[in-house]
Symmetry: C3
Subunit: 154 residues, 3 copies
């Protein structure tokens, strides 16, 4: 078990198996020393626990829990291409898409659920550049989608 | 003619000339071994064949055809900076923005139009990481916009 | 003072101090020869000068001024990690998110405010690949958010 997985396990988190893509692409791809992770929905055992738009169908706090799950799925996607998560040097970039009600503007609070999980998993190396935006809708009516780029070494 | 263009021609696709940017930027830019492609609208001979939001003004299937055109335009943009498309090692990342009606959640189906075209063009190297999201509106009322990063070798 | 700052000063622009992140991430991060900049809101002295959606609450031209401010903040974020802005070789990629009224489709006009500022600051090296999209809402009800990647040398 990598030290990343140990730190997560200590806080009660298990990295899931990687979610099957909804289409003709791959969950993650390595090029040089970077792994690009596809947009991750908050699947739990293949199901979305919640649907809809943040601000009407669920609260920012509830959505932050989903962003955390998306981040776990993103880590799973990284593991699927590099095997050992301790090869991750840093999380470079995160983009968090939040399916937002017209008036909802607390996207940073939602995506903190992902950012905090990444810092928990990777420590200093988990601190990343980030954008958080409010989109009108997401695949399968998911409330959040999180993509990222990580740097790795062999 | 590159083998990429031959494969596309065999399926009836022609790579267009590159669309003129709508503003002070460039359709594609090479840095190191990567080409970053600007968001591509589904222009055909300088015109958008359809406008509006997917889910009301057009169907997911119709929008998938537009995403395919955007991907062709993205390949054209790559060719404009590297000349020989056989230099493309892999498509690294695609982001597909779908102008979506409030209730529309089949963005993956739409962006498959782009993803499948890229696999057709580049084979194994065309399999990429991807995000697909639903935005409220796009430039010129286009239904889709597709950006990508490809890795090249000389 | 870098020549970048001199060019901007000549046109009346001052690079601000870097805005504090709204959450557990960093305004910019260097990996190899690239700096990834987090999504920048148009803060002026810690305040957003305008709020709301472009097309209803403010015009495209007003929003272009905000995009220009976001670009200045993005340059500030780059400076916070590389010190000397003359190390910037080129701006690689810009994504401009525009909080858009349902019918607003002039996102390129808005994001030109950022693109033109980058060309002013970096000259030929400021010409970048770009996507501009219309999102339903942004953090703190900001009308625009701009992220970018720049290439640097030591």
């Amino acid at each position: 078990m990598s030290s990343v997985e140990e730190r997560l396990a200590h806080e009660g988190f298990t990295i899931p198996t990687v979610a099957t893509p909804l289409a003709s692409y791959t969950p993650a791809l390595r090029t040089g020393n970077y792994v690009y992770v596809s947009g991750q929905l908050p699947f739990v055992n293949g199901e979305l626990p919640r649907h809809g738009k943040v601000g009407t169908d669920l609260t920012a706090e509830e959505a932050a829990d989903l962003a955390q799950i998306s981040a776990l799925n993103a880590i799973a996607a990284v593991r699927s291409v590099i095997d050992d998560l301790d090869k991750v040097v840093r999380v470079v970039k995160v983009v968090g898409f939040v399916a937002s009600a017209d008036h909802f503007t607390a996207q940073p609070l939602v995506i903190n659920g992902a950012s905090n999980l990444l810092v928990l998993a990777f420590g200093e190396g988990g601190v990343h550049a980030r954008s958080a935006v409010g989109v009108v809708s997401l695949p399968l009516d998911a409330p959040v989608e999180v993509e990222m780029i990580v740097e790795v070494v062999d």
